[in-house]
């Protein structure tokens, strides 16, 4: 990744000659490239501007060692800053530090992958960490949503909360937690209906769900193909319920996934997991280093 990034910059940065430090003009040229690459990768515009300004500051006047080209020098600064902005090296695990049953609340826009990801997390916790997991669907909106989660629970070999027609999402949430306590579950995953960032009524509802369950994790599930609207999604869910972690789904597609950077920048919450397929085992830890290269189109 490094070579192609520095190649891209070498094309726009003039020969430094004998100067030895990066000039403002050199950096400005390179930053135009970065800005474009990031916008093409769907990083949200305010996040791009902020990032570019920071990198500009770090770059201007930076020493260029004799062994590297100016292009390489800028590439390293950009790359490091991007990994940093994505959360630094390494992965952040799910936080299950709470008295069992530990509630995990899944939220996000319609069709982002909440229900599937609920099933994936259940499978992972059950098999890797030997947790006793209960899946509960609070989705009374989408046709057959509760049945979908029930079928995924069967596939994952974990329990699901029996479906009772006519209950409100808040009532189901309470019943899920009671069942979790009574039957000795370690983790209760609460899958919710998709909702738009502008839907006040549904945002209030998810806030109520949070208030009655006190989730250890509130995971915002986001499609990796998301465009500039990532800003609104991140803001509104974070304001409504406080996002503790982000899951990027459909990383198996060929979208460059700039929404990951927007999510991190706006919620401040780490990206914890990525979905890379429809099957229940297609869930991975998030590695900022890998996604950085993808965002820059390398």
């Amino acid at each position: 990744m490094f070579e192609s990034l520095s190649d891209r910059f070498s094309g726009v940065i003039g020969d430094l000659g004998k100067r030895g430090t990066l000039s403002e003009a050199d950096v400005a040229e390179a930053m135009r490239e970065v800005r474009l690459a990031m916008l093409e990768a769907d990083v949200a515009l305010p996040v791009v501007k902020d990032f570019v300004n920071k990198v500009k500051e770090r770059s201007v006047g930076a020493e260029v060692l004799e062994s590297v080209s100016p292009g390489q020098a800028v590439a390293k600064i950009v790359n490091d800053a991007l990994i940093d902005a994505l959360g630094g090296a390494g992965a952040v695990p799910l936080n299950l530090n709470a008295a069992p049953p530990v509630p995990i609340l899944m939220v996000g826009l319609q069709g982002s992958g909440k229900t599937t990801t609920s099933g994936k997390i259940a499978l992972r916790l059950a098999t890797r960490e030997r947790k006793k997991v209960l899946l509960a669907s609070l989705d009374t909106q989408r046709p057959a949503a509760q049945l979908q989660l029930q079928q995924l629970a069967e596939r994952a070999g974990v329990a699901s909360l029996p479906i009772i027609a006519g209950q409100t999402p808040v009532e189901i949430a309470q019943r899920a937690m009671e069942t979790g306590r009574r039957e000795g579950y370690d983790v209760v995953i609460l899958d919710t209906a998709g909702r738009l960032s502008i839907d006040e009524a549904l945002m209030n509802e998810v806030r109520q769900i949070r208030d009655v369950t006190h989730p250890a994790e509130t995971l915002l599930v986001v499609d990796a193909m998301t465009g500039q609207d990532a800003v609104n999604t991140a803001k509104s869910f974070n304001e409504a319920v406080g996002v503790s972690g982000v899951v990027m789904t459909r990383m198996d597609g060929d979208a460059r996934g700039g929404a990951a950077l927007s999510m991190r920048a706006i919620t401040g919450a780490p990206i914890k997991l990525t979905g890379s397929g429809e099957k229940l085992d297609a869930l991975e830890e998030f590695h900022p280093e890998r996604v950085a290269g993808r965002i820059l189109g390398l």
Partner: protein, 296 residues
């Protein structure tokens, strides 16, 4: 109204606004360039700017704003609904089912997603809601076989419109795309002309990747038109402008909610106005709650 000169700074603000609406940096720049050539330096109000810019964009969209009309000669007109995961295919089938059956057409919906958990049951609920019959196979059944069977049945029963749902698939997955091509091949064994429409359903929240989606789906399964969903949210769907320029595929309809009646014909003017929205010379971030209210 306060007038202000349309200068470089103002144009840059407008360009930012278009980028934030997902037009993409290249298209946004091009739109602003041609806008500049006609208006630069003139004294204008915000309102005038918005209208003029919307007109500029609407000109690109006008030629592709073509409503979907099932052909009365075809018995049935066969529609294959395709797209990436979660874009809104099944919901859109439910909405179209309602609309055309209320127009007095005999509609049949086909639960061709035999893969995803409860996908069949989801469409069956839509069938009950809209009073439209649903043909379904067993979970895990061969989708091509089901489509073939449904086509035979639809012909025998003299249906007007056959709406076939398919499993969501990412365009970069060769095997899954081949499966879709197979559904089409198998249908053609029964009726050379089927499917008569292949509709690609796009989520308005999607960014630049939508271009790749359309390119690949069009190449592999001959997409005939687009439907854009989830425009009731804060996403403005600006990528549609790039799609209109590059592919010129008809945009038939937009989804503006989760209910059966939440489908509207695509209107170039309304859509363009929604894109430009609150665009203002004082750069304001895209306001939440902005919805291009597509006129029926």
């Amino acid at each position: 109204f306060t007038k202000r000169k349309l200068d470089e700074a103002a144009l840059e603000d407008l360009e930012d606004h278009l980028i934030a609406a997902d037009l993409g940096p290249e298209v946004a720049e091009r739109v602003i360039e041609s806008f500049r050539s006609t208006r630069f330096g003139t004294e204008v109000t915000d309102e005038e700017i918005r209208t003029a810019l919307a007109d500029e964009i609407a000109r690109v969209l006008e030629p592709v704003a073509i409503p979907f009309e099932p052909s009365p000669e075809l018995k049935p007109h066969v529609v294959l609904m395709v797209g990436v995961n979660g874009s809104g295919k099944t919901t859109t089938i439910g909405k179209m089912g309602r609309y055309f059956s209320e127009q007095g057409k005999k509609v049949i919906m086909v639960a061709g997603d035999t893969f995803r958990a409860a996908a069949v049951e989801q469409l069956q609920v839509w069938g009950e809601r809209t009073n439209v019959p649903v043909i379904a196979g067993k979970p895990g059944a061969d989708a091509a076989g089901l489509a073939f069977e449904a086509l035979r049945k639809g012909k025998a029963e003299g249906a007007d419109l056959l709406l076939i749902d398919t499993a969501g698939r990412l365009h970069n997955k060769g095997a899954l795309m081949e499966e879709l091509a197979k559904i089409i091949r198998v249908m053609k064994k029964f009726d050379e002309t089927a499917p008569h429409s292949v509709l690609l359903v796009l989520d308005a929240t999607t960014g630049q990747n939508a271009v790749e989606q359309v390119r690949v789906f069009r190449e592999l399964v001959n997409v005939t038109g687009l439907i854009v969903t989830k425009l009731d949210g804060s996403a403005r769907g600006g990528i549609v402008v790039a799609l209109a320029e590059e592919f010129k595929l008809p945009i038939h309809a937009v989804g503006v909610g989760e209910k059966a009646e939440d489908l509207r014909p695509f209107s170039a003017q309304e859509f363009a106005r929604g894109l430009v929205g609150k665009a203002s010379l004082e750069t304001s971030p895209p306001e939440e709650g902005e919805t291009p209210s597509a006129a029926p």
